[in-house]
């Protein structure tokens, strides 16, 4: 092994170091923990920046188990940026007295999942992918149950663990069949062979997609989502809906496009069905929600449905638009959750009706939330519009206009419930709206980053151009 090759692993190595740091720091006394949050953010910011250093990226390590290229680096960087914003936004929660003693372990678990996601993305075979997936899942169940004095948090943890265990069992069953068909679990070897296994192959592929679809919360694999999102601490919910979902999406994308190129007929058809189901069910459930976290859960299910639109196009265009959409979705969702967590940390409120009259006292936050919701709904000129439009373009380029029609109609339905939140903030009268808040530096920085992301990404075509060149 060449030492140069360590550069290809820079994300993983730095993150591992960070994990070790957290482990050590967690042992120290409580006064050090106070500064741990800030230190971690700074260190992670360093990691994020380091991730962007342009170095040679094309590599295959450990006998092909680990692969790296520009695309994967980009995907990891997207996750890093999201995580950085997430860290900034969760700082307030961690600084609360009842949480501060467990800061170190929180970060420990968190970075472990992130490492798992890196591995999922950079997997060169299914073993690595599975390893990464479990690494990204099991600590998350603990995070979901992190509010150890809340019943709902405990419930969220167990629900997530049990259902994810079943889903990974199903996925593994599919992989085992795949192994039986191909005799290999290496991506490079599998992709070179044609479609094999006939019906068994279809079955195996479906099982595999179901496993990742679970993480991505596609209907009908989504049922855990709402409960876990609602039960988990708010920062964890945010992490679920953005980083965890992003990693699952990217992994699914890489595997389908890069490995199962021979099965495009199958998985694009499956994506069609999943897209329709997911958008529709997500919307129908989101309509009624009163709790913002639960609301955002169904919203993110719907958004996952939109993401599946990209998968019906097995060409590069599909990949481009998926990545682009995910990027925008991350910023939008982070912005929404950022505002929600600011409210939650201060007032412990998380119902939509609690937002009534919010604009009167907090115009800035309301506007940010408005922009973010519009972005999720796909309203120009914020970036969400571009993301959605291009996804629809990807679907339409396959001639699937009916699917596009269903999708745009669903986008209209989704606008309805996003507007309900807007309505609460701007229109509903309230004598005692939540008082004005003063933002901490971290929160401010996080929101600025999000707003920049929401507003700028759409107009800067170079970002899409970059994704396009990276995908190739």
């Amino acid at each position: 092994m060449n030492w140069d090759q360590l550069f290809f692993l820079r994300h993983e190595i730095l993150l591992s170091l960070l994990i070790v740091f957290e482990l050590v720091a967690d042992l120290s006394d409580s006064s050090a923990r106070q500064s741990l949050v800030n230190t971690t953010i700074v260190l992670f910011a360093g990691l994020t920046v380091a991730g962007f250093i342009p170095l040679a990226n094309e590599a295959s390590l450990f006998g092909g188990m680990y692969a790296s290229d520009d695309l994967r680096i980009l995907l990891k960087n997207i996750l890093n940026v999201s995580t950085l914003v997430f860290l900034l936004q969760s700082a307030g929660w961690l600084n609360q007295s009842q949480n501060s003693y467990k800061t170190g372990s929180f970060y420990l678990l968190l970075f472990s999942t992130l490492l798992g996601m890196y591995l999922m993305i950079c997997a060169g075979d299914f073993i690595m992918l599975y390893l990464g997936l479990e690494l990204a899942t099991i600590p998350l169940t603990l995070l979901a149950a992190y509010d150890h004095n809340l019943r709902r948090s405990a419930e969220a943890g167990i629900k997530l663990l049990m259902s994810s265990a079943v889903s990974s069992a199903v996925m593994l069953f599919g992989l085992s069949l795949m192994y039986g068909i191909y005799g290999s679990l290496h991506f490079s070897e599998m992709s070179q062979q044609g479609a094999m296994g006939g019906s068994l192959g279809v079955l195996a592929l479906t099982f595999f997609i179901a496993g990742l679809g679970f993480k991505l919360s596609l209907v009908p694999f989504h049922l855990w989502t709402a409960d876990v999102y609602e039960g988990s601490p708010l920062p964890v919910t945010m992490y679920f809906s953005v980083v965890s979902k992003g990693a699952a999406l990217f992994t699914l994308m890489l595997v389908l496009y890069r490995v199962f190129g021979q099965f495009t007929g199958v998985w694009s058809l499956l994506s069609y069905a999943l897209a329709v189901l997911t958008m529709l069910i997500g919307n129908l459930f989101a309509l009624r929600q009163k709790n913002l976290k639960r609301f955002m859960a169904f919203s993110s299910i719907t958004q996952a449905g939109f993401m599946m639109l990209g998968f019906v196009n097995p060409e590069a265009l599909g990949m481009n638009t998926i990545i682009y959409f995910m990027l925008i979705y991350s910023f939008s969702n982070l912005a929404v959750f950022g505002v929600l967590s600011i409210i939650h940390n201060r007032y412990g409120k998380e119902q939509i009706e609690d937002l009534n009259g919010f604009y009167k006292t907090n115009p800035g936050l309301s506007l940010i939330l408005l922009l973010a919701l519009f972005s999720l709904a796909g309203i120009p000129p914020v970036a969400g519009f571009f993301g959605k439009f291009f996804l629809f373009t990807a679907a339409a380029s396959r001639g699937l206009y009916f699917l596009v029609l269903i999708a745009v109609l669903n986008a209209t339905i989704s606008l309805y419930y996003y507007l309900l939140v807007v309505k609460a903030m701007f229109i509903n009268p309230n004598d005692q709206p939540l008082p004005a808040v003063t933002l901490t530096g971290a929160e401010r920085l996080a929101l600025v980053l999000c707003v920049l992301g929401i507003v700028v990404i759409g107009f800067m075509s170079s970002i899409y151009g970059y994704i396009q060149t990276v995908v190739g």
């Binding site: 049990m162 279809v202 009908p220």
Partner: protein, 635 residues
Amino acid sequence: MDYAYTLWILTLPVAMFLTIGLSGDRLKSNAAGILGTAGLAVIAALSWFTAFSYFGSGLPESGFQPVIAAQTTWLAFTETLVIHLGILLDPLSVMMLVVITTVSLMVHIYSLGYMHGERGYNRYYAFLSLFTFSMLGLVVATNIFQMYIFWELVGVSSYLLIGFYYEKPSAVAAAKKAFIVTRFADLGFLIGILLLSFNTGTFDFAALNDMSGSAIAQPVTTVFMGLSVSTWAMLLIFMGGAGKSAMFPLHIWLPDAMEGPTPVSALIHAATMVVAGVYLVARLFPVYHFAAPDSLEVIAWVGSFTSLFAAVIACTQLDIKRVLAFSTLSQIGYMMVALGVSGYGDEGVGYMASLFHLFTHAFFKALLFLGAGSVIHAVHSNLMTDMGGLRKYMPLTHLTFLIACLTIAGVPPLSGFFSKDEILVAAFEHNKVIFAVQWFVAGLTAFYMFRLYFNIFWNSDPHYHHTPHESPPTMTGPLLFLAAASVLAGFVPFHDFVTTDGKPLETEFHTLVAVPSVLIGLAGIALAWWMYARKNSRPESVAQTLHGLYSAAFRKFYIDELYLFITHQLIFRFISRPVAWFDRHIVDGTMNLIGNTTVSVSVAIKKMQSGELQWYIWYFTSGVLVLTLILLYLN
């Protein structure tokens, strides 16, 4: 000859309208009146000058030729269908200019006294100017679309003036009715224009009336419901005319229009605007005659029926202005009959007679209305039951009113005699039935006019609260002028000037027609004298005898009720209301239903998220299996 100065005839009234209208209350009310009147005097002078120079330039070989005094493109629809705004001078329009400006001037002067002290005096003069402008624009139109434009403007000025007393609900209702009825007729007019212009590719009167133009030379003979398309077009255009001229069954607005100030009734609803229909048919007469002779037949019968119908009603009405209004209907019916029975060229007596009657009628009817106004001014009532014996109090009014009544009754040598006689001659030569009807109507006319006259000026005194007095000179002056005009207008050699082809027409005196018509007129006067000159019970007993006819005529043959039924019951209740309901409940309901269905589906499926982990796992695995099976089936 350069007639460019005629442009002032159109621009002056606009200028006056804008000045008076925009200055609002800043202008002292007398100033508005004087400004308006002075402006109109100038316009009248210009019109007279135009008439003298046009007719006085001597008769050319080929008859009087139309002159385009000015023209500008207003709007171009296609290359050929262009709306010009221009001034067309030919015998017809020049004659109309004179009539309109003269009567209008008289009305302006009269109004100085009549409207004195009224609220909205300025507004009144502004509207009058607007009307004058529109009416003048109408008569000098070079093309049918310009005519339509001014036609509408005339309609709206009529609306504004009828509704002048806008705080009075009946005036508002009358104005609305007038506008909507004529608007409905104008729809016909518009469709007629569309048909005609589509077939001929032009709006221009010159091109339309051209003997070799496509309107006349190549009428569209495609038959639609028994009549050729050209006939339909011309009939629809006539419908517009019938609306404005209040021909049956579009007459219902005119009696109600008497809600307006009386001078307005004199100007618009007696002398000028209501004859626009006649003018329209006359303007397109060659097309009617050559391309759509059937439509002329219709016009004749409509005119004839209207004149009879209105005359019968006029015999029963108590409101003096309404009597005059029905009389106007009847007289316009005469004009229509004359046009309907007319031939072209040497046989164009009817045409000439019609316009002659228009000319004389304008004066004597304006006189009647202004006289009535003078009476109303003195008595403060419109009902003849509140009047009587006024000859003692208002000698000038009495005298002029008597002259007018004699004129309209066709007593020679007053002008009405000449013009009505020509009409009867034309009818006699064309159709004996129509002639008989018109002859009978002549008698009725004399009867109801003198019924009016005797009831106002003779009969017994109904104990006035204030002693009535003669009107001021600003009012009696115009009365005297118009009386003179009524007397003298018959001697104008009309047949030399206004004929179908611009060439003089030889007319002869038909004793066979003239004598009976004078006789029946005198008989009518005598009957009226017998019944109304003194207070007695004869009118009641006659009414008792003819009970059914009397009450039907008194209620205007229930036409208003019929219209009310059609509009309120049928259109409002059975179309508009269902439409509104349909929109709220079906169309909108569907949209709401979509929304509500979505929500109820959302509620219905919420059990899926039961909160029970094992169900989730069950959905997950069965979902995987079902999807696999579907995929396998599809592959």
